[in-house]
Amino acid sequence: MQEYHLKLPLTQEDVQALRAGDMVYLTGPMLTGRDAAHKRLIQLLDEGKELPVDVRGQAIYYVGPAPASPGHAVGSAGPTTSYRMDAYTPQLLKQGLNCMIGKGRRSDAVRAAMREYSAVYLGAVGGAAALIARSIKSMEVLAYPDLGTEAIHRFTVENFPAIVLMDAHGGNLYESGPAQYREE
């Protein structure tokens, strides 16, 4: 297990170096998006239209933040469960998205696409939402403001803590981690 401090967006060298179980601290810009925004992005791709945000080489955080209270850049902002994005993800990876941040298992199709297009899946600790919000320094809406919390935002983060859940080489911490502690 390695620990990395990385600048966003990640380079292909960064993505290739990461292994399931590594700890990373991210600094820089990341996109946000969840169910409704993904549905719209894929609809545009299916219609052969241009996306409202450039996903090439970018990271996307699956999150719907709580509203910011006075004195905060953002409200509580922990990850949402990623499998709901699985149906849409391979197409975004094909477009060049190279990093996803969420929680929970991914489908075989997503894992195959991560190897094919070289992408990494990171985990933020679900429910540690007030703690995570401290590493988010600013937030702006990039697309779909009508979706409210589900809009596509740009978060600028500093030392955002995450764990490599699935790497670009097939490594999967959700298999290797529990296997060490299973007593069945």
Partner: protein, 281 residues
């Protein structure tokens, strides 16, 4: 007869949802802290410590423990000697939810039509109300604000008598195994056995709010709770699902009489941000 003006209902409902969103229960926090001491996985221990730090930040800064502040569900026991005055009782409850989510900087997560439109209602209403009429002149509230990461991992099974204790235990453990990392473990699991399809689910939801560390007063059900808990903690899922022995903090079971032909079992999974609050007017 006791008269209660409905604005008091609004005020109480608002207060309870804000309490639930910002302040983790002492039982849950103590259980997570204790687990952080004993968790053998270093990364699992670090996750549990982050959860404790997160509870503290939420409490001190009055911010939501988790951004998913749930769909509002209220169990309300209305004393039969109460007369509500000055407006519509249910609307007063919905107004309390609206005020809590709007003024408390909580996320609005409810969409109107679930299948076709999925348009956000903008104020986290409607809340779901479960009402009972009870003796007395008080109104008791239990409010829960469960996120959907864990709600989505819940299940109902129409078991039969022949499934027995083993069948119920296996269904609980299998539901936790399938859920794996998705519901933000360590989980708290509410289980309803008996009744009907919907009654079992209602009991299970109530049981997610029973204090961690409490047990069913019937020793047979208490043993089933302990056995299921131990079996789930042998799955290896661990904190955040990345490996460890702290997968579940509590299995809380309650039961209800059922039909000669059936034994419904409902398993409602709750995350470690187990948000609920109780109050009375």
């Amino acid at each position: 007869m006791r008269e209660i003006p409905v604005p008091r209902v609004t005020e109480k409902v608002k207060e309870l949802f804000l309490t639930a969103a910002y302040y983790i229960g002492a039982d849950v926090e103590a259980a997570v802290k204790a687990a952080a001491e004993t968790e053998p996985s270093p990364i699992g221990k670090s996750v549990l410590c982050q959860l404790c730090e997160n509870y503290q930040i939420a409490r001190e800064e009055q911010v939501a423990i988790c951004q998913d502040t749930g769909m509002a569900v209220l169990f309300i026991d209305v004393g039969q000697d109460v007369h509500f005055t000055g407006g519509d009782f249910e609307q007063a409850v919905q107004e309390g939810v609206r005020q809590a989510y709007s003024e408390g900087y909580l996320r609005k997560s409810i969409v109107d039509d679930p299948l076709f439109d999925r348009k956000n209602t903008g104020d986290n209403t409607p809340a779901i109300l479960h009402l009972r009429i009870v003796p007395g002149d008080k109104v008791r509230f239990l409010v829960t604000a469960k996120g959907f990461g864990s709600e989505n991992m819940s299940a109902v099974k129409m078991c039969v008598a022949a499934d027995g204790e083993e069948g119920v235990r296996n269904f609980i453990v299998d539901t936790a195994r399938k859920a794996g990392p998705n519901p933000c473990p360590p989980m708290i699991i509410g289980v309803g056995v008996g009744g009907t399809f919907e009654q079992a689910a209602l009991i299970a939801k109530r049981m997610t709010a029973r204090p961690v560390g409490s047990h069913n007063p019937d020793p047979r059900y208490a043993k089933l709770e302990a056995d299921a808990l131990a079996a789930i903690n042998r799955l290896g899922i661990g904190p955040a699902g990345i490996g460890g022995r702290t997968t579940c903090l509590a299995v809380n079971i309650d039961f209800f009489p059922t039909h000669i032909a059936g034994m419904p079992v409902a398993v409602n999974i709750c995350c470690h941000a187990a948000r609920h609050a109780e109050g009375e007017i």
